[in-house]
Subunit: 95 residues, 2 copies
């Protein structure tokens, strides 16, 4: 199992342009086999910060996700609204 926290920093004032992109990415991704969790969160106290919390069965399905048509098409479109680069944290569960 791989847990991912991916944090996006975007121009909040343009959310009407990127919100539909997020919705499309979420809907398509949740259909992928091996995708256990794929949820997007906002920080009420910090505008423009969008945090994906994801869970994948293994690295192979995560790699497949990042090579998928919807990911490779939509992520660059969302990237046009960034204020700084996305950060990605790959985590393993504490045992």
């Amino acid at each position: 199992m791989i847990k991912v926290i991916a944090t996006n920093y975007l121009k909040q004032e343009q959310e009407e342009a990127f919100n539909p992109l997020f919705r499309e990415l979420i809907a398509a991704t949740r259909k992928e086999s091996g995708c256990i969790e794929y949820r997007l969160f906002k920080k009420p106290d910090e505008k423009g910060v969008y945090i994906f919390i994801e869970e994948w069965e293994n690295q192979a399905v995560l790699d497949k996700h990042m090579a998928s048509e919807h990911f490779t098409r939509i992520i660059p479109q969302i990237g046009k609204f960034k204020t700084k680069d996305m950060t990605i944290q790959l985590l393993e569960e504490f045992k």
Copy 2:
């Protein structure tokens, strides 16, 4: 619903001292009513970083958690091993 990402920065070499504290805190917390998720993760590529991903029904149960006997007793004990202060992000789900 409230999602929480709480990141702890600890002296990795002393994990045998704080691991049991984490386990006790996790076991007690998961019994709390209103606790939807309470999981701890490590970063394979960054030693000493311990990230709680939590989900709570509402702010009231989260407040109750942070005032609980186990939280108020264990968190300071874990804090003795910190290399820098914990960061806490309170999130709401993107709709």
